[in-house]
């Protein structure tokens, strides 16, 4: 069983995740987190060294949450095609994202670009890992005869993620989900062109 302190720390992190995702690392502040958790400074600083430490762990959790969720969704697909389709369908609603405020992987990637080198490392790792996994999945589809050799797994894995992530941002700012649906349909068709 988790100790009280461990539960409190987890609670702080979980409460802070959507705040950070919505307001960004620089935009989020300690007081926002205290307000949301109804805890106090003394408590928060008992669990974290300071804002940087909190930020790092919050982003860490957000990245882990969304990565795990995507993996779980992909896992549901029976075939490789089914898994890729499941991946795409995960992105179909740009407004009710798994964590409120859009995709934390991308949101973070944009913010940490020049600032926050530590966090940048973490996001890079998550994205690289995702690319490897998707690429391996597509390669498996070629190996097991689902897809033809005409499919370039590395390129298509990148195209998949870049376009859906970009699509989410665009749809959110334009306040319409429609283009996302067209995009997902188009990507599914593109994959189907390589089905043997």
């Amino acid at each position: 069983m988790l100790t009280k302190a461990e539960r409190t720390k987890q609670f702080i992190l979980e409460t802070a995740v959507p705040i950070y995702n919505e307001k960004g690392i620089a935009g989020a502040n300690i007081d926002d987190v205290l307000e949301a958790t109804k805890l106090t400074k003394g408590c928060l600083y008992g669990h974290f060294e300071g804002k940087d430490d909190l930020s790092e762990q919050v982003i860490d959790l957000a990245l882990k949450m969304v990565s795990d969720k995507i993996r779980a969704e992909v896992y549901k697909g029976k075939t490789i095609k089914g898994k890729i389709f499941a991946f795409l369908d995960f992105y179909k609603n740009p407004f009710e994202t798994y964590i409120s405020g859009g995709c934390p992987i991308f949101n973070t990637a944009v913010q940490v670009d020049d600032n926050y080198p530590f966090i940048k490392e973490k996001v890079a790792k998550v994205i690289k890992m995702g690319q490897q996994e998707l690429t391996a999945l597509l390669q498996e589809g070629i190996n097991n005869g689902e897809f033809s050799e005409t499919l370039d797994p590395v390129v298509f894995a990148f195209k998949l993620v870049a376009s859906v992530e970009g699509g989410i941002v665009m749809c959110r700012v334009m306040e319409t989900a429609k283009p996302m649906h067209g995009l997902i349909k188009s990507l599914k068709m593109e994959l189907e062109q390589h089905i043997v």
Copy 2:
């Protein structure tokens, strides 16, 4: 001729553009801008009502700069295909972006999502306008016989922007330009599939 004040204001805005693009709206602060311009508070506050006013005008300029630049690049293409290719080639270097720190349209879109409703409106307008222009361009290509009816201009215009913008972010965080080149090649091939 521009008056001294007009030139100073323009100088402040132009100097602030990369700062805002690199550090974000919440991350950028007045002192950063004063430091970079070597000007003083009195001067800056003579030209802007406050940080919000400055932020708004800086983002406005950044959006205008990059939009104009993209239009100019696209304009160079002789055929519609040439114009689309020129658009894609604009994004080929994720590190030396036209404005330092990545694409300001996208960077801004991510940040303003929940906060800054005024600026969100502006970004939305820019993105919608871009989509309209790209869609019209593709439609023109269909009309003039360059492309077949199999091309869906609305969907492809969205796919183009979403993927290259997403690609930029991913490449920047992973610190490799290679996937961007694969993506652009893939998008060019996708367009060429519809050439009659």
